[in-house]
């Protein structure tokens, strides 16, 4: 079951010697450790905007949790690492609706759950299960929210919400993507209302050699490995 889906809709990536799987739903799976990694869930972003006058549909948390659900169902991980900005603001967890709160705890049940601190949710998240951490190192990999130019080898981060624009004859396609080279990776945002930053933005130039990075773009039916050179700026 897992094997079949893997063939169809995910791609293997190696970072710092660790064999990882980039899934079409936007998560990263590390089979050796049975670990699922997700970034930038931005839960309760809709209600955060509502508080400032934009009454966005209050279904983004449910939509994001549904993506998470799909990943957990596929890989049945023993642990989940959320790479920060899991809630859109400090009070986000307190605004969770009853249904979404129940949904989240059902996903968490029976597995280790690490909330890494992000700039939107710097303090430990109260009112939900899981363990808070500023960062986390496991084997060759270092999990943190914000990627740094001088970050360690094996850095797996989020924060930047990478998207790639790929030119084809007659048009171009824009999609969320994993950006990586042999040393590090920046993961796509999982949040339903999380926007994107083009991988040709300066923020990425500080992290990756512009001639030697790749992206894995999330398409309609699978993940596509694209050479960085084919990514266009906006």
């Amino acid at each position: 079951m897992i094997a079949a889906r893997r063939l169809q809709s995910c791609e293997e990536i190696e970072v710092a010697g660790a064999a990882l799987v980039a899934d079409i739903a936007g998560g990263l799976y590390w089979p050796q450790e049975r670990l699922l990694v997700v970034a930038d869930l931005h839960l309760e972003k809709g209600s955060s905007f509502a508080g400032r006058g934009s009454l966005l549909p209050p279904y983004d948390t449910a939509a994001t949790l549904a993506r998470l659900h799909r990943l957990i169902e596929t890989y049945a991980p023993t642990g989940v690492i959320a790479l920060g900005d899991s809630f859109h603001d400090r009070r986000g967890a307190g605004r969770l609706g009853d249904r979404d709160r129940t949904y989240l705890s059902a996903l968490q049940r029976g597995r280790d759950w690490i909330w890494i601190a992000g700039n939107h949710d710097p303090a430990p998240i109260g009112g939900v299960a899981g363990t808070a951490a500023a960062a986390l190192a496991i084997g060759p990999l270092a999990f943190r929210h914000r990627p740094e130019p001088d970050g360690p080898e094996g850095e797996i981060a989020g924060h930047l919400h990478p998207v790639a624009r790929v030119g084809l004859s007659g048009g171009s396609v824009r999609g969320r993507c994993f950006v990586h080279d042999a040393r590090r990776m920046v993961m796509p945002a999982l949040g339903a209302y999380a926007g994107g930053l083009n991988v040709r933005d300066r923020a990425f130039a500080r992290l990756f050699d512009q001639r030697a990075f790749s992206v894995h773009v999330i398409g309609q039916s699978r993940v596509y490995r694209i050479d960085g050179g084919y990514c266009l700026p906006d």
Partner: protein, 849 residues
């Protein structure tokens, strides 16, 4: 003696002496329709005046007001009150264009001064300083000239009852143009409010000729709860019948494309032989191209200018000024000059490309020669063979004086939501009262209570089934049952975002110095230069830095996107990428399409067509067939190693694109492996690896099933989930309804930082609440807008049981033009034309040989 003449004689006596003297002093006679409007006003009636350009329409609209303000009629109205310095507002004039309001004010000042009337008239637009606006509210002028958006703002203030209760008349200019858009919906709602606030109000609509004057007559007066009410209709005597001809080119008529390059010397010759020529084209890119090419052959150095909606406003006003002063020999323009005051002494209108609609063409040609007694002159220049048919159809339609303006639209729910918030920003309202008031506006006469309640619910808490936003409500119901804004911040935000024209997807185009190859993301750009104009964001999104295109009359190189500006630099490139941005493209009107099909079906009428077009149709008839007027011809043939299906619905590019998307899905399911399609105004061509023709011949694929109306069910629904056009439609609704704000008080952050992509919102909402008001509003827009679904539906009904299949062994002559569209958007300038020419030669040999 006709009725109008008798009225004329009766009423002239009633024109006050000083007015009669003024007319005489200018060597004018008051026109029958001007006196007629005066008479209607004296009877307290609202009226619609339909008159051609140059008939003194504006003066007719204001004459009753000026007469009332000049003498005894003014008595008894608005007697000065302690708290009101003046007499109060008497007449409100609303124009679709800010510039037009300013021009009209200037034109009115002349009779006011020359007759010596004690009348104060002022304009109020987005440019009016805050201090003046405040003063206007405290001490209003007699006549205020403004726009629909400013009216909405005035209504949303607590002063509205004070300001408007003295109002006697509202004059709506260019009404035919206003009512076709969401601005018309906004205006209709504003008008309904005015009628409620000013018991003695009457309205005057000024309009060009339309297909259904009745619709506009209803628009002008409050509609009763059942049945309908109409303003009086006053028709000015038409001017002389225009003389419209088609350019009979000595050159070869192109098979496809819209450049009309073949006819350039002939167009130039027409300009040379006339005083001032307006050259209308359909898209901004055509305007840019034609302007460049005309200057390339402008050996006489004629003053030829360019005018279109993307150019900087100051630049446009300069061109208009020069034209009014008679300093220009020609202006190449788009629909940007369809409206506006009478410019200068224009003696010829050239329409390059497809006329698209009969009414539109007549309005354009009416721009030539503003002396009513003399005929306007128009020359149509088809840019390809199909357009010859369309021009022929249009000439016949003009001769029949056939109008094809669209019917009155049903009021949009997103505009209603905006209005509901605006009303809550003014005086608190009771839902039942507002519902009745809204229904009195003609476009909303059919509004249901549940849709109205959905709009109120949307404004209050977003209208979600999941009720989680009560504490964030924008408007709340008080103990008195009245709705009011929950916080002054809400009203402030409303005022900053009022309006229905979604401009946020336009980017400024700024000229900078090139940073050479390898540019891309926004590095430091050496020098910020001037703004050339605006361009659609989605156009820029298709560009890669280094691409060249023609803009504002020069070839520029795209450098980078910086915040909300597209940076471009000058380039020496001689081969610009053809700009694919097609701002202002209208589909072929249903009426004209039917006439084109009639010409195609009736070979006895082909004698009126140019020789080369006749020959093309004759060979089509011999090779395949010339379809009957109501039939749909479907041809299948192998070509270039692929199997093609070409059909000819004549329903416009937008409807054909939607059809192409839906047929592709169905062909995929039939395992015919479709690979692509291309649409133009007349036809749709699809191609793939499977032999479509053979499958039809064998009875394995039914054309009737393929073109069945049921494609508008699940297939459409599945496609809408991904369609970029649908997402753009949704975005417009979300902005108009106020879900997404474009401007924020006190913050000048880039909108990219503070907004959530409406595409993401669309995906989520569609999945979790597919019947939400905004999705219904977007679906209503998609029926007529970018996806033209309603027209597609009408077409599918028309052709049911009338599909004629021709299996051919090669390309048919009729299919050549649409096949030549393949790849046009990705190839480059002159190379593209060379490529097209080469491809054309091959195709033509295959088809005609």
């Amino acid at each position: 003696m006709s009725l109008l003449d008798r009225l004329d004689a009766d009423q002239r006596a009633e024109l006050p002496q000083r007015f009669a003297r003024w007319f005489a002093s200018r060597g004018w006679h008051p026109r029958a329709h001007q006196l007629e409007l005066l008479a209607r006003a004296r009877q307290g009636r609202s009226a619609l005046l339909i008159a051609p350009t140059g008939a003194g329409k504006t003066l007719a609209g204001f004459l009753p007001t000026l007469v009332e303000l000049s003498g005894p009629h003014a008595a008894g109205r608005g007697s000065p009150r302690a708290d009101r310095p003046g007499r109060g507002l008497h007449t409100l004039y609303i124009s679709p264009l800010k510039a037009l309001a300013v021009d009209i004010a200037r034109n009115l000042e002349r009779p006011v001064a020359e007759i010596g009337l004690p009348v104060r008239l002022e304009t109020r637009t987005g440019d009016t300083p805050v201090s003046k606006r405040q003063r206007q509210r405290r001490n209003p002028p007699d006549i205020l000239l403004t726009t629909p958006e400013q009216l909405a703002l005035l209504i949303a203030s607590a002063d509205a009852p004070y300001l408007f209760n003295t109002l006697r008349r509202v004059v709506l200019d260019e009404l035919h143009s206003l009512v076709t858009s969401k601005r018309g919906d906004l205006l209709a709602l504003g008008l309904a409010r005015l009628f409620a606030l000013a018991p003695a109000l009457t309205s005057v609509g000024l309009s060009a000729t339309v297909a259904e004057p009745d619709d506009l007559c209803r628009f002008l007066v409050p509609q009763p709860p059942s049945g309908s009410a109409h303003a009086d209709l006053v028709m000015a005597q038409g001017g002389a019948q225009p003389i419209v001809t088609m350019l009979d080119t000595r050159e070869r008529l192109p098979w496809a494309g819209h450049s009309a390059r073949h006819a350039l010397p002939e167009i130039y010759d027409l300009i040379r032989r006339h005083r001032t020529t307006l050259v209308f084209v359909n898209t901004r890119s055509q305007a840019e191209m034609l302007f460049q090419e005309l200057w390339r052959i402008n050996d006489d150095g004629l003053a030829i200018a360019l005018h279109h909606g993307s150019l900087d406003v100051a630049q446009r006003r300069k061109v208009e000024g020069a034209m009014a002063e008679g300093r220009l020999r020609a202006v190449v323009c788009t629909s940007s000059l369809d409206l506006g005051v009478d410019w200068g002494d224009i003696d010829l209108v050239v329409n390059v490309g497809a006329p698209k609609g009969s009414s539109r063409l007549m309005q354009r040609i009416g721009r030539a020669n503003h002396r009513l007694e003399e005929p306007s002159r128009g020359v149509l220049v088809p840019s390809n063979r199909f357009e010859v048919l369309e021009c022929r159809a249009a000439i016949e339609a003009v001769a029949d004086n056939a109008q094809d303006t669209p019917p009155l639209r049903a009021g949009a729910l997103d505009v209603l939501a905006q209005h509901v918030l605006g009303r809550a920003c003014g005086e608190p309202f009771l839902a039942a009262d507002l519902f009745a008031e809204v229904r009195s506006a003609a476009p909303y006469a059919g509004l249901t209570r549940s849709d109205f309640d959905a709009a109120v619910d949307f404004v209050a808490t977003g209208g979600y089934a999941l009720k989680s936003y009560e504490r964030f409500a924008k408007i709340r119901q008080g103990d008195d049952g009245r709705w009011r804004v929950a916080h002054p911040r809400v009203a402030q935000s409303y005022r900053m975002n009022v309006g229905t024209i979604v401009e946020a997807d336009m980017l400024k185009v700024r000229l900078v110095r090139s940073r050479g190859p390898g540019a891309g993301y926004a590095g430091a750009v050496a020098r910020r230069g001037r703004v050339l104009g605006q361009v659609e964001e989605y156009f820029i999104e298709t560009l890669v830095p280094g691409d060249t295109f023609v803009f504002a009359g020069e070839i520029v190189r795209y450098e980078a996107l910086v915040e909300d500006e597209a940076y471009v630099s000058r380039t020496t490139a001689a081969d610009p990428k053809i700009p694919a941005y097609e701002g202002g493209k209208f589909p072929l009107s249903t009426y004209l399409a039917d006439r084109v099909r009639a010409i195609l079906a009736d070979s006895s009428s082909w004698g009126l067509l140019p020789e080369q077009v006749r020959e093309w149709l004759e060979i089509q008839r011999w090779r395949s067939l010339a379809p009957a007027r109501r039939d749909l011809l479907v041809e299948t043939f192998p070509h270039a190693g692929r199997h093609h299906l070409v059909c000819y619905p004549f329903e416009g590019r937008l409807a054909h694109q939607t059809l192409g998307m839906l047929l592709t899905r169905r062909l995929e399911r039939a395992r015919l492996r479709p690979q692509g399609f291309v649409a133009n105004e007349y036809a749709l061509a699809l191609w793939g690896l499977g032999d479509i023709g053979l499958r039809i011949e064998r009875g394995e694929l039914s054309l009737a099933a393929l073109f069945d109306r049921d494609m508008l069910g699940d297939d459409l629904d599945a496609w809408l989930a991904e369609s970029a056009l649908m997402k753009r439609t949704f975005r417009n609704c979300a902005i108009v309804a106020g879900l997404i704000e474009r401007r924020y008080p006190g913050k000048e952050k880039s909108r990219r930082e503070v907004t959530v992509s409406t595409d993401l919102v669309y995906d989520v909402l569609r999945r979790y609440q597919p019947d939400h008001m905004l999705l219904r509003a977007a679906a209503a827009d998609a029926a007529t807008g970018l996806l033209d679904i309603r027209r597609l539906g009408d077409m599918l009904s028309r052709i049911a049981g009338r599909i004629v299949h021709k299996a051919l062994d090669r390309v048919s002559p009729l299919a050549v033009p649409v096949l030549l569209e393949i790849g046009r958007e990705t190839v480059h300038g002159e190379a593209a034309d060379a490529l097209l020419a080469a491809a054309a030669a091959d195709l033509v040999r295959e088809a005609m040989g």
